[in-house]
Amino acid sequence: MTALIELRDVTIARAGATVLSGVDLTLERGERLALIGPNGAGKTTLLRSIVGLEPAGGGSIRLFGEECSTERQFRKARPRIGFLFQDSDDQLFCPTVIEDVAFGPLNMGCTMAEARERGIAALEGLGIGHLAERISHRLSGGEKRLVCLAGLFAMQPDVLMLDEPTNGVDVDNGLRLRQALHDFPGAMVLVSHDTEFVDELATRAMVVRRGRLIAAEIHEHAHVHRHRHVHLASD
């Protein structure tokens, strides 16, 4: 069986400066790969180049077994990869939530009725069916994040690529989001600074550091921490 995503010796430059070089990455079916690394290391850049939004300078990118280098080739693969952007505001552009969620299926050739049905189903799967008719611009940060995710689920992708999915999400919405990701049957690439979240979800991790992508391991062991904590006075 072929890998879902396969990068070989890929180099990516942004605004003239090389951000990443010699990147090898393989994502197999059922894997949940975490990408970690400091600010500005190139995690977002790497995700963008996987779906062809950032042209790779060298090396080869294969998606679902097919070589991709032109916009045309990437375009065919994109509906199968749900890409959650780092900033929800960059992803929501339709006036109402349901229109936004139905946008992907419409692009894939669904009729309006089918697209809405898939959209509603995706929203309900995330427990936010009640948001369908809301104006997307006026949602809270956490709600926006979940709506973006519903927009991806509605496309029924084979791979999810999530750029800091827990950003700006509060506790309650965070729980729903984790549950939905746990239940997602496909493969996943995950960028996050939230180590607890990564530890809980990922099956494998890689570190982006100084322009390189390096394999990492996930261990389990106990730690003693000592730090100050905030408690409600009434607790």
């Binding site: 994109r78 890409f83 946008f103 611009h137």
Partner: protein, 237 residues
């Protein structure tokens, strides 16, 4: 040398030079003006992007070049099927091409490298009305920010399988895109105004004070004006 000149002088010189070029009527003088413009660009230190700019012709300019030779009366020099190209028409097309190119080159050489965001103090010093100037500075400051927002939104559309075509889905989606950019711009406008209030803004926008003009600046000004007068005089004699 031009890059170090005072921005006030550069803006005024550019305006005068282009005004002079725009009034030329004869082919040889226009060619001379074009040559002068190239010289100016070389003095200023040519930028690779400049030559690309030269190739950019507005749609109707193309139309003008193509139709003028066939629509103007005059001695026929070539025929293309039923169409006859006149030499007067071709001369006119050449004249326009030279004048437009000379203007673009002159502007690039004199003010092409000024960052619009830095022009506030210059326009203020040139007595441009205060409100207009602030509108200009504010717009210049936010163009790139909003352009990035719009770019990221359209990338998110592509990532979800959008491909533009001539259909209602495309037009509606673009309408949503521009609408969302506007709504976010309005929100931002409100917060920017508040940020100004928070820092004690009371209606008087502070501009940087520009240094006094040097002899070098006046020399640049004088040479541009002299060239302008010279070509206009040659043209009319």
């Amino acid at each position: 040398m031009i890059a170090r000149a005072d921005p006030r002088i550069r803006v005024v010189s550019a305006l005068l030079a282009v005004a002079a070029v725009s009034q030329l009527r004869t082919l040889p003088v226009s060619a001379a003006a074009f040559a002068l413009a190239i010289l100016l660009v070389i003095i200023a230190g040519a930028d690779r992007r400049l030559w690309r700019r030269m190739l950019h012709v507005e749609g109707f300019m193309l139309l003008l070049f193509v139709t003028l030779p066939f629509t103007m009366q005059g001695p026929v020099v070539a025929t293309l099927g039923p169409l006859a190209a006149s030499s007067t028409g071709m001369e006119r097309a050449a004249l326009i091409a030279l004048k437009v190119s000379a203007s673009v080159l002159t502007l690039s050489a004199l003010i092409g490298d000024i960052d619009p965001a830095r022009l506030g103090a210059t326009l203020h010093a040139l007595r441009v009305p205060e409100r207009f100037n602030r509108l200009f500075v504010m717009t210049a400051r936010y163009v790139s920010l909003i352009r990035d927002e719009a770019r990221r939104l359209s990338e998110s559309m592509r990532a979800r399988g959008f491909r533009p075509g001539s259909n209602r889905h495309t037009w509606r989606s673009y309408g949503h895109l521009v609408g969302m950019v506007l709504v976010r711009a309005l929100d931002r406008a409100e917060r920017v105004e508040e940020a100004m209030l928070c820092r004690g803004y009371a209606g008087r926008y502070p501009y940087a004070v520009l240094p006094a003009l040097l002899r070098r600046d006046w020399m640049l000004f004088a040479s541009v004006v002299a060239c302008g007068i010279l070509i206009l005089a040659m043209d009319r004699l």
